[in-house]
């Protein structure tokens, strides 16, 4: 096997079909990048789910002065006494594992760190923030029952199941992931057909050479290898480009929403995703080349 001979053949083939090669590279890059984004969203969602299921399940907000919530109307802020009985009541519930009290100062601090609306930040004072009990449950599935039993208690303004809030975020991310994966599948099909076409053109352009190679007894591998390598190289370049796109996506999109996510997507995951998508891209290219060769290059 003469490596330099095969590589010169590959180079000639890629150069002759430059536009088709570029089309293949771009399709593979975009398709694999979308596949990677889908996978990244997927692992982000599962990370978040894991993160949040360890955290607070229920927030029991207490009345403040002038709170607009229905149970707080016609009464003032929650009293020290009410807080005491409420804490006892919550602790007495069989499904409750842990209770934490969040005072106005802590609530204001949390608010400041997560809210980005500067106008809202400037007009909000610590006294506006509601106090709350953060309740962790033994069984997250019981959240709705516990919430409804606490809702009527005196001094309680509102009970929020944090899971419900997250669920809508997860739902949105699921949709995003499905769209990305759907487009990725279409791109993979497009890439396969494009590679098939490129190899067919390449085989047609080189029919003289391959005819003579057949005649003088070149082995099948020797005849087919340049074509398969063409596919492989195009797939590899496309895969590298998709890796670059994925790194950009990680830095500029995932990193910027990380403040809300609390469970950052690590570089190890990104590296895994990039390796996986590159492998898929190269595999698709090689398989597509090989299958088309069987059809158009009779040996």
């Amino acid at each position: 096997m003469r490596a330099n001979f095969i590589f010169s053949e590959v180079w000639i083939g890629l150069r002759r079909n430059l536009t088709m090669t570029i089309a293949v590279i771009v399709t593979v890059a975009v398709g694999m990048a979308l596949l990677g984004v889908g996978l990244m969203i997927n692992s982000q969602v599962s990370k978040l789910t894991g993160f949040w299921s360890d955290k607070v399940e229920l927030s029991v907000y207490l009345c403040t002065k002038g709170s607009p919530f229905e149970p707080c109307k016609n009464r003032g802020a929650v009293t020290q006494e009410e807080k005491g009985t409420l804490e006892q009541t919550i602790k007495a519930l069989p499904d409750v594992e842990q209770v934490k009290f969040e005072n106005q100062a802590q609530a204001f601090k949390n608010f400041q760190s997560t809210e980005s609306n500067t106008l809202l930040l400037s007009v909000t004072k610590p006294e506006d923030m509601p106090e709350s009990f953060r309740v962790k449950l033994k069984d997250p599935e019981k959240a709705t029952a516990v919430a409804s039993s606490l809702k009527g208690q005196p001094g309680v303004s509102n009970v929020v199941n944090e899971r419900d809030l997250l669920q809508s975020v997860f739902g949105f991310m699921d949709t995003l992931r499905n769209v990305a994966l759907g487009i990725a599948i279409l791109m993979v099909i497009a890439a396969t057909l494009l590679i098939g076409n490129t190899v067919r053109l390449s085989a047609y352009n080189r029919r003289r050479e391959t005819g003579i190679m057949r005649l003088v007894g070149a082995s099948n591998i020797y005849i087919q290898l340049p074509f398969v390598l063409e596919g492989l190289i195009a797939g590899l370049i496309g895969g590298v480009l998709s890796g670059v796109i994925l790194i950009v996506v990680k830095v500029f999109i995932f990193e910027s929403i990380q403040t809300y996510m609390a469970a950052p997507l690590g570089w190890d995951t990104v590296a895994g995703v990039i390796t996986g998508t590159m492998a898929v891209g190269v595999l698709i290219c090689v398989l597509a080349s090989f299958v088309t060769l069987r059809r158009y290059l009779r040996v």
């Binding site: 003088v216 007894g217 099948n220 020797y222």
Partner: protein
């Protein structure tokens, strides 16, 4: 060297056989003309020797191998022992004489050192010394056919198949081509040449096998082209 036993070949979608119960033996080192009108089965005969086609019936042995038992995987190895020359030369237009001949060795993975040694020898054998770096379009038809013969012979095949090698060449130049074929034959290579060229067949006085409608109508040592008529 080539042994056809009762070989019949019918192409798909055709009811008349291209070869009809053909039996023929060609020994090592023989020079055989395959003559007959167009469509008589000469090209089919050559294609069967190369295993480009399979017979519907009968058995073919080439270089001691039963072709029906030869796996597709081994066909390239069979073809390395058979050189081929065609009417239309089939040279690579973007490679020069040397590169065209070397190509045949490169694609079967011969080492570069071997190629550098052998190719100039063969170019000299076919009478193209000093033209190794010419491109095919700079050569006459006869010279191009010499390049094709050099390429066919460079791997020292046991058999050389020539399908109307003088078909595109004027009679005067054809004599030179025949001299090269004769020279190749004298090295011990079996030469099987399909041709229409009566003058050449008559002048060479070699074995003549005549086909008509797929059947052998004449097999004569030291024959001429048109004796049967």
């Amino acid at each position: 060297m080539i042994h056809f036993d009762n070989v019949t070949k019918v192409y798909a979608n055709q009811n008349r056989p291209a070869l009809d119960h053909v039996s023929v033996d060609v020994d090592k080192g023989e020079f055989v003309f395959l003559v007959g009108p167009s469509g008589s089965g000469k090209s089919t005969f050559l294609r069967l020797v190369l295993k480009e086609e399979r017979p519907n019936n009968g058995s073919i042995h080439v270089a001691g191998k039963d072709l029906s038992k030869l796996s597709n995987f081994k066909v390239p190895h069979l073809r390395r022992r058979i050189g081929c020359v065609f009417q239309d030369f089939r040279l690579l237009p973007n490679k020069n004489v040397y590169e065209n001949v070397a190509f045949a060795l490169e694609v079967i993975g011969k080492p570069r050192r071997f190629i550098r040694k052998v190719v100039p020898e063969v170019i000299e054998l076919v009478g193209l010394e000093g033209k190794a770096h010419r491109m095919p379009e700079e050569l006459s038809g006869g010279e191009q056919q010499r390049v094709a013969m050099a390429r066919a012979f460079v791997n020292r095949p046991m058999i050389l198949l020539a399908d109307e090698p003088t078909g595109n060449i004027d009679p005067a130049t054809s004599i030179g081509i025949m001299k090269v074929l004769d020279r190749i034959n004298r090295t011990g290579t079996t030469v099987l040449m399909a041709t229409h060229d009566a003058a050449i067949v008559d002048s060479m006085r070699k074995r003549v096998v005549e086909l008509e409608d797929g059947k052998i109508v004449r097999d004569q040592s030291r024959g001429v082209y048109g004796q049967a008529y």
